[in-house]
């Protein structure tokens, strides 16, 4: 048996498929250039190739594959938003996530855990009720539950009355899930490259070429390349890249910090979020407690970590989960989040013709990777704003038609 396996591994008939099919050289022209090889950019490239037959695509990346916020998020997937527009959008993302491992032929370790948004005040209970009703109306499974039910589902949580902020109840969202973020990006990259898409890392866009109000290409550190269409998907650097295209965005770049504990045996099944306490936590497949809080109190282009963040996070965390007192922190990091005024993303057409934007993903980008890739691809391929993305157009700020999702952000910012 082991011999047969070895023979199979070395057989010429079954060659090992290379995971990524890199191409070393840049061409002079492409149909589409995507700036940013994170989850969103790669997903858009994959869907352009698969759904729209556009394979002459270059995905340009200043750093390395999926090394920005795709590698820095806390991997939570959910659809329990506040506005009907938001719920419809994230609902499609959850549906795509469920079959993503099959779609991309890679195990993204999608794991449905159940998602609590804890309420410690009457106001938070009211928001939970509001979200539950909107969710149910849109066909998303969410329910308001009381503290006793929270305790029944998640016995490790401290729901007693002698806490500083006792738990009154929660918005419970059973489809809430976590996934392996790197695998999601690698899966999209692998499948896109298999279809002929080129991904070029260490390739920084220095200038966006615009002629008569339309984007015609980019200038990189490896030379000028032309394209019929250009799309940006660069998270924390959104304002910087958009400025090259002559656009000013309604975005502030603010760090969001996170950390993980040392790995332990499974003890926490659910994803637990408390907006009032500014904490969220889940246990990864590796056993690490993945934790985060609110964004930093001021804007910054830096991924440094601060003691202030950990002090406030741990204080509240210990109240929710007293057993955490035994755990040590293993790693800490931060990502630069592109925050919008209404806590909703900016997607689709821009005032510059043939220039498409995917930005404003603040603290909610990973969960939208599949749907955003699919719909941005549709937008780029057709040159029209897809129905699902219409509420999230950049133009909503000049028509005062915002999509207020602050009440559904994981923690009060």
């Amino acid at each position: 048996m082991p011999f047969a396996l070895l023979k199979y591994a070395l057989s010429r008939e079954h060659p090992d498929d290379p995971h990524f099919r890199w191409k070393p050289d840049l061409k002079k022209t492409y149909d589409v250039i995507i700036i940013g090889a994170g989850g969103h950019g790669l997903a858009a490239a994959y869907h352009l190739a698969k759904d729209h037959g556009i394979t002459n695509i270059a995905v340009l990346e200043k750093g390395w594959l999926a090394g920005g916020n795709t590698a820095r998020n806390t991997t939570i997937v959910r659809a329990n938003y506040l506005t009907p527009e938001g719920v419809a959008f994230y609902k499609e993302s959850v549906e795509l996530f469920r079959t993503l491992s099959n779609e991309l032929d890679i195990n993204v370790m999608y794991s449905e855990r159940g998602h609590f948004t804890l309420a410690h005040t009457d106001a938070a209970m009211r928001t939970a009720r509001w979200r539950a009703e909107v969710n149910k109306h849109m066909g998303v499974n969410s329910e308001v539950i009381d503290a006793a039910e929270v305790k029944r589902i998640c016995p490790t949580m401290n729901v007693t009355d002698d806490a500083r902020y006792p738990i009154l109840g929660a918005l419970y969202h059973p489809p809430g899930a976590i996934a392996r973020h790197d695998a999601v990006a690698w899966g999209y990259a692998k499948e896109a490259m298999k279809r002929g898409v080129e991904v070029h890392t260490q390739t920084e866009v220095k200038k966006i070429l615009i002629e008569n109000g339309r984007a015609i290409g980019v200038e990189t550190n490896r030379g000028v390349i032309h394209a019929a269409k250009v799309m940006q998907a660069v998270a924390g650097s959104s304002s910087h890249v958009a400025r090259m295209a002559g656009l000013r965005l309604p975005i502030k770049t603010i760090p969001l910090q996170a950390c993980v504990s040392e790995p332990v045996k499974p003890i926490l099944d659910q994803i637990v979020v408390s907006g009032s306490l500014h904490v969220y936590i889940s246990q990864s497949a590796r056993g690490e407690m993945v934790m985060g809080g609110a964004t930093d109190p001021y804007g910054l282009y830096s991924s440094r970590s601060t003691l202030d963040f950990k002090e406030s996070l741990m204080g509240h965390m210990l109240e929710l989960f007293p057993f955490m007192g035994e755990l040590r922190i293993l790693r800490q990091w931060a990502g630069m989040a592109d925050m919008t005024p209404d806590f909703s993303p900016v997607m689709g057409l821009t005032p510059v013709e043939n220039y498409y934007i995917d930005a404003g993903w603040g603290t909610w980008g990973f969960k939208a990777t599949p749907v955003c890739g699919k719909r941005m691809a549709e937008c780029v391929a057709t040159g029209r704003q897809p129905d699902l993305l219409k509420p999230f157009a950049l133009s909503r700020f000049s028509t005062f038609d915002l999509v207020g999702e602050k009440g559904a952000a994981s923690v009060g910012h």
Binding site: L249, I251, T253, P297, Y298, L300, S302, D308
Partner: protein
Amino acid sequence: MKILKCPLNGPRNITEFVWGGEMKPMPDPATATDAEWTEYLFLEENLAGEITEWWLHAPTNFWFVARRNTITDEIIETMTYDAFLARQQAASTATAPDEAEPAARPVTGGADTGATST
């Protein structure tokens, strides 16, 4: 804990302060067009580098101006709004001595406050 020097209260822990965002010129609400007002409300320079911005010392409700580097997280200097205006005026008269009308708008700032891009 990071320390921010308040022009009124001296050096204090940064948790006592609220970030007010970048300085930008406010158009006159009575005469501004929708487009101008939108731009003032929502659009940001969001620069990486030295910027001029508003801060509030929350316990004393005192608003002031800071210059900060958004890459290195260094606070370069803080000043009262009056000091900021005086500096603006000095700069504009130094560069344009025959200018008949000095800075008369309630808030000036944005791109011309010495902020530099990346």
